[in-house]
Symmetry: C2
Amino acid sequence: MAKQAGSRTRSVRGSHTGRPIMALLDLLGRRWALRILWELRGEPLTSRALRSACDEASPTVLQARLTELREAGFVELGDGGGYGLTPLGRELCETFMPLHRFAERWRR
Amino acid sequence: MAKQAGSRTRSVRGSHTGRPIMALLDLLGRRWALRILWELRGEPLTSRALRSACDEASPTVLQARLTELREAGFVELGDGGGYGLTPLGRELCETFMPLHRFAERWRR
DNA sequence: CGTTTTGCTACAGATAATGTAGCGTGCTGC
DNA sequence: GCAGCACGCTACATTATCTGTAGCAAAACG
């Protein structure tokens, strides 16, 4: 198959096929990305609360992921402070929510 | 580099809660992990075919992910050669299959 | 045999994450 | 009006991880 032609998508690593699923898999396949979405599934969290929820992951990555997820339209910084899911982000979160039940059965 | 991951509990990075969902999110949140599962959703692929499907990702990571996914019981190396999903892996794949439709709507 | 193709490894260079510290801002309460 | 604090966010050296290229040993052809 013909590989891409020139669409350099700054944030999408490794996938140039133009298929959105690739971009999404790439975005979500970065450290802490899935976890962040997961932790935000409930109420909004401040950056520091989120950090605590994510096992004190370094603020550097967290901030990077948060920026990417915001650019993707999944996460937003509420006016009163604190990060929360956008409607789109919530939808995405629901999408892989069955993972929870799967994980329980998996129990490595 | 460790040739295998041996201890199953070995740092599921960053997550010590014992909750399987964290381990799963961590495992899937590594480079190419989601993509590999995605590319294997159809028929089994040889390691090189998989590499091609994954935009020629370096064999080093691919091999590392493949090992992890095998230890997790999601992927197996068929007797005739070629990597394929285990029943469990297929189940997992189905779990986040709706992502495809979501991605189509997302179309950043 | 010789050629391919398989799964897989080596390794140097590049990139991304960790861990710790701290900045600037906007609050409070005093 | 200023110490105290929490906020979002950044700096930066260290460490972990990924990339890219090359190549190996063992099977599967031929």
